[in-house]
Symmetry: C2
């Protein structure tokens, strides 16, 4: 390919960081005092150069030849073996962690954007590191000193990798039904026995060891979710300074339609009764602890989904600008040359929709990363509490919206490429295959809709939702002041009211004992909520674009594109919420009534 | 797999043929006089048994190992080689053709349903025959006696296969720009030189010969679409009763994300100046002639899309009925057994949506096939004209709706399977990959939207649209008489009005010279039109279901399911048309204004 796909728009990253979300303000917080715009820019320019020059060329070979099971172990692609040490050298595993554990104490706002380039370049390759970071952070947060010094340190340095091992064959998403057993011993460790499935990076030949952060039940634990504990279970254990096998076995590899550079495997613990596991945190509090990693993973999946839609969008844009075909409507003279397909209205529709999804979702992702930074390091308890509530509420949205609408964007990127888009001579079909997983792993879209409606928007007597209303009102005010069209500000303002009223109504149903009715259209509610949240972000971007135009901050074309995309989303997509609200509110009940034998 | 996927619901096929569309009435037409319900049932029962027992087992191996290019020729999968003679033996190539050319003179209404089973079992495998049928029919309709006796007969018998060879590398969908040249000789044939791409079944080792029905320009022909002629260009030509190479070369195979059992290739004619082609029909009338095959192919693609969504729907339904996971809302007691996931409201939503798409599209497809039968063999010229107008208008809808919404159904089938759905240990991911092509080949969705809005609904001063209004009114009356809920009949009745008013408005724009404005939201118009057409079909099915319940025609569950699906579509999906109509009417112009450099 002669075209160098930028993966992610640098101009847009700068716009979000410095014009929309004023990331420099974070440097005034003590935790980020050693950072400046210059250090952020250095991180970003390293990340984008590395992603473009080193990571991206590994994508196609790894998609073509997945990691494979050989003699009971996973062999990764030779390209991945060569890439791994270079990835580790970038120091991204502990990027956001404190200096004292070897991290760079980088704000998530910046780290999530610098990570985006690598995800867009090869989401499987960077997946090993993302999982390791989350697993090590669990040990950092809940493990004892012994686990921190033996395991966490090696994981943050990339010497070992980590996984999350939750799912079991009989349980799937139902963690209540986890059956893996842990029997205490007098030596501090437990003997573990059980089976896990869909463990990403669960085996490989990249590093000397892998630490599985796994859920299991201590003998005699209460049934259900409150009897599940968190364990660190290494593939090999340290005995006398040496790594010896820990009775952890790869029982098979799944053949996935995408994410083909990182294996997903079935894992058996303790086939021979000799699998040692170490308790992380409190007994029976495993789910509560694991939520730290699950929430991080959810935001990471959201960013993966944005990255996967972004790289495909840029590919489609370049194709549309350079592929001549057909002539404008009403100008059929075959003597005239054909025009690039970007000249056709429907091709521009498909491109603008991709842009609106990618850049709308990314703005929401960065907004949420900023909440994470303030939640951890904000100046006052009230600021931290507010940011934490907003972070929690936005997590299911940032996970699901990019997965669902990002998939639609990936489908459009294939469509823009026409017949070529359906072939593996071009990359969009591979990105489409990758994207599909994001609505499934780390909780399906339905599960996140239930998390949002059943828990998050109701938390703290609806405080998070009220705060969101305030945030939207402030964006509306900024947009009005900047001179954004009144129909756009009015539409977003009104949409915030629709969300509030609908949520009150549904909460009322729930409190009246009609939980089924409340939750019946939870997926429609999530769709509505996400559409409004993204409209809020587009209004905010439109406000900043108007400000940028007024101040002549650089070329106008970028800002004009932002305004056009904001108009597209708010005028074309946002109006869908009325129908969605009426479905949620009216409780249209066809599928509730549909008996299994009627299908 | 222990589960025997039925591919297509037999009960539903019987419902459509005998309860909804009264196919027995066709037997009163002279062309179909030799048929009876018994012969139809025999055709259907052979087709479904053969599809389930013989074709379906070939699907997974052929998806796993695509046909490959070897020494300049395509080698198909050994399974396909073994299957081909059995497929030919079924006699489907000429099923709808007259007795005098070796056909069975079967109504399309029946043939399209019997073909559906094979398509659902392995769309690539039956693709060879579908293309051959369309190519042979071109020769039957426009070829001279020589071509009919040498080529058509061998193609209808399956001894040779056929293709359609339109697309060229520089032209894509823009047939105006076809460059392949044909130079007349005094011997009746032409010397052809040119390059084609994306030729499905363009080479293989299944039969002794392949006849390409190709577009080319005769030397000196006028530029543009009116200078393109239709040729039959065999891979090998008959000389002295022997087949000799005809300078037709496979220049490469595309690696497709789906449809992996049938190759799509680049084809070179006349690399050595010795490629003979025979004119089919009138010089310069190639596009007009080719439209016969293109229209047949479009309806076939629509049925392929329905079949691909159908087989995945049945797989998802079985999975949902048998996979235990989780417990009902508000009943979290881990001591209770888990329930099959079909018990969860959102899983039922995903299944009902699949059913509504599959069976709604199929009903529209059968309706359209019936128009094709009446258009060809109706009693009076007026009946034939009416049916032809409706057939023409519905063709872009039957091609596009199943491709677009069928893809959504295939995505839902993956989602119902959760993590397993993302693996090739299960089949839904393969069907998802297959389905994606259907919005691209035989004209993209955008092209069909322009065909519908720019030509079909306006044809004959809007006669087709008026007739559709009458058809919908008659379904509304039947539904009212049968006791279908008044809100459903009123909604469909009103929707027909929305289509009519909107079309008048847009036609007015076009006549006022504002063609860009008229066509700007053509894809939204197609979406709206299709949604209404499918709502019409669901209302019709609901009417017949009510009649069936009232008459106690068999088990109630089937009819209850039909009523529920009709309610789902009309209450949940149909209301989207108001927003779509307002986009079309208001001409929301963000992407029209979006300059290529603003992205």
């Amino acid at each position: 390919m002669a075209f160098n796909n930028p993966l992610v728009s640098d101009r847009n990253v700068g716009f979000l960081l410095y014009e929309v979300f004023d990331v420099e303000a974070l440097c005034r917080l003590p935790a980020y005092a050693e950072h400046t715009r210059e250090t952020f820019d250095l991180v970003l320019s390293n990340a984008r150069k590395f992603a473009r020059d080193v990571i991206f060329p590994t994508y196609k070979p790894m998609d073509g030849e997945p990691a494979r099971l050989e003699n009971g172990g996973i062999k990764v692609h030779p390209t991945m073996k060569a890439l791994y040490p270079k990835l580790v050298e970038q120091g991204t595993v502990a990027a956001t962690r404190p200096y004292e554990v070897g991290g760079q104490q980088l704000p998530h706002t910046v780290a999530s954007l610098s990570a985006l380039y690598g995800m867009a370049a090869n989401l499987s390759a960077v997946g090993y590191l993302g999982l390791t970071a989350g697993a090590a952070h669990l040990i950092e947060a809940f493990g004892d000193d012994e686990l921190r010094s033996t395991m966490m340190t090696r994981m943050y340095s990339g010497e070992w990798t980590g996984t999350m091992a939750l799912t079991e064959p009989q349980a799937g998403s139902s963690l209540t039904d986890v059956k893996t057993r842990a029997t205490p011993t007098p030596h501090g460790h437990y003997i573990v026995q059980g089976n896990k499935v869909f463990i990403s990076g669960g085996d490989h030949d990249l590093t000397a060891n892998i630490v599985h952060l796994a859920l299991a039940r201590i003998d005699g634990a209460p049934p259900g979710i409150r009897g599940v504990s968190l364990f660190a279970i290494p593939k090999k254990r340290l005995e006398g300074g040496k790594l010896v096998p820990n009775d952890v076995h790869c029982a098979g590899a799944f053949h996935k339609m995408g994410w083909r550079g990182i294996p997903s495997i079935a894992l058996n613990f303790g086939e021979n009764g000799d699998c040692h596991g170490w308790l992380v945190g409190q007994p029976h509090r495993g789910i509560a602890h694991m939520f730290q990693m699950m929430n991080e993973a959810r935001l990471m999946i959201g960013m993966n989904a944005i990255a996967t839609a972004s790289v495909a969008y840029h590919e489609a844009l370049e194709y549309a600008r350079t592929r001549p075909q057909g002539r404008p409507l009403g100008s059929k003279d075959p003597a005239l040359p054909q025009v690039p397909i970007v000249e056709h209205a429907d091709v521009r529709r498909m491109l603008l929709r991709q842009k609106a999804i990618v850049e709308g979702a990314l703005s929401l992702g960065v907004q949420t990363a900023r909440y994470a930074d303030v939640a951890a390091h904000g100046e006052t308890p009230e600021q931290r509490r507010r940011a934490l509530l907003l972070l929690d509420m936005m997590t299911p949205v940032v996970k699901s919206f990019p997965a669902e609408k990002g998939f639609e964007a990936n489908v459009l990127a294939v469509q823009v490429h026409g017949g070529y888009g359906y072939t593996s001579e071009y990359l969009p079909e591979a990105w489409l295959r990758d994207q599909k997983l994001n609505s499934i792993h780390e909780g399906t879209t339905c599960m996140h809709s239930m998390d949002l409606l059943g828990r998050k928007v109701l938390a703290d007597q609806g405080a998070a939702l009220r705060m969101l209303g305030e945030e939207i009102a402030s964006a509306v005010a900024r947009a009005s002041a900047a001179g954004v069209s009144a129909d756009l500000t009015a539409a977003v303002d009104r949409a915030a009211g629709v969300v509030g009223d609908l949520t009150m109504h549904l909460a009322g149903l729930g409190m009246g004992g009609k939980v089924d009715e409340m939750m019946r259209h939870s997926v429609d509610y999530l769709d509505l909520f996400s559409t409004v949240a993204v409209a809020w972000q587009w209004l905010l971007q439109a406000a900043v674009a108007r400000e940028g135009l007024a101040a002549s901050r650089g070329p106008a074309a970028f800002y004009e594109g932002k305004l056009c995309a904001a108009e597209y989303w708010i005028r074309t997509e946002l109006p869908r919420i009325d129908h969605l609200a009426s479905l949620c509110r009216g409780g249209e009940d066809s599928y509730a009534r549909m008996a299994p034998e009627w299908f």
